[in-house]
Amino acid sequence: MSDTSAVVGLPRLGEKAPSFEAPSTAGVLRLEDFKGGWLLLFSHPADFTPVCTTEFIAFSEIYDELRKRNVALLGLSVDSVSSHIAWIRNIEEKTGTKIPFPILADLDKKVASAYGMIHPGQSKTETVRCVFVIDPDAVVRAMIYYPLNVGRNMKEILRLIDGLQTADRHKVATPANWNPGDAVVVPAPTTVEDAEARMKAGYDCKDWYFCKKKL
């Protein structure tokens, strides 16, 4: 018996983000409109649903922190622009939260398909909860995929962005559970000569390949 399930394309880390052009609550937007700054593109399953509403409020609460980090925020679901407008007006009316970022209306699922947002095991019609961190050169730097029934954590999203930007700025890596201000990982040496020099370089080393430093 042949497998007739559809092949889903997924963006890959380190590669150019799939281009898109789609209507949104702020007019027609293209990926290239965000070039030169970081973009956090996220999807939610559906407007007027409870977990999504909590996430929209939470994303709004970190909006200013994202702007400080030169990160634009862009939502997406397969609902229409009219549905998005009605929903964000409802959120503001019921909770007092004004949604400051645009939301793509991906009715034909072109963007959702390009970004691998529809996972039939969860839903054949709605996107799962995806997050794509795209850098100023439009390269995908990180991806998060969450299921329909578990909301995302904004602290982790901010921590992820801080880690990426710190790694870029200082040419380092960040260890498990890193937060800004913690010691960072010095990239492992790639030559015997560098490995010998590493232990005398003044870093906090457990061994030649495993060193940290404070920024």
Binding site: A26, G27, L29, R30, D33, F34, G36, G37, A72
Partner: protein, 73 residues
């Protein structure tokens, strides 16, 4: 269209852009600084405003046309 109202007039954000482009040609980045609108919004809006003929583009700089100036008055 987000920059053009149902009666063919510029929206509030389009007016801001046309005002900023009235006297001088600006790049999208300069326009974003001048209007405090996000850069993505400027790029998206300029596509539309150029299409309706209210702004012209020359070597990456944008300036309001006479029609754009008249519309924003």
């Amino acid at each position: 269209m987000p920059c053009v109202t149902a009666d063919g007039k510029p929206t509030v954000s389009a007016k801001q852009i046309l005002e900023a482009l009235r006297a001088t040609a600006l790049t999208p980045e300069q326009l974003s600084e001048a209007t405090h609108l996000p850069l993505f919004r400027i790029r998206s809006s300029l596509r539309e405003i150029v299409q309706v003929g209210w702004v012209s583009e020359n070597q990456g700089r944008y300036q309001a046309t006479q029609e754009g100036i008249d519309r924003s008055a």
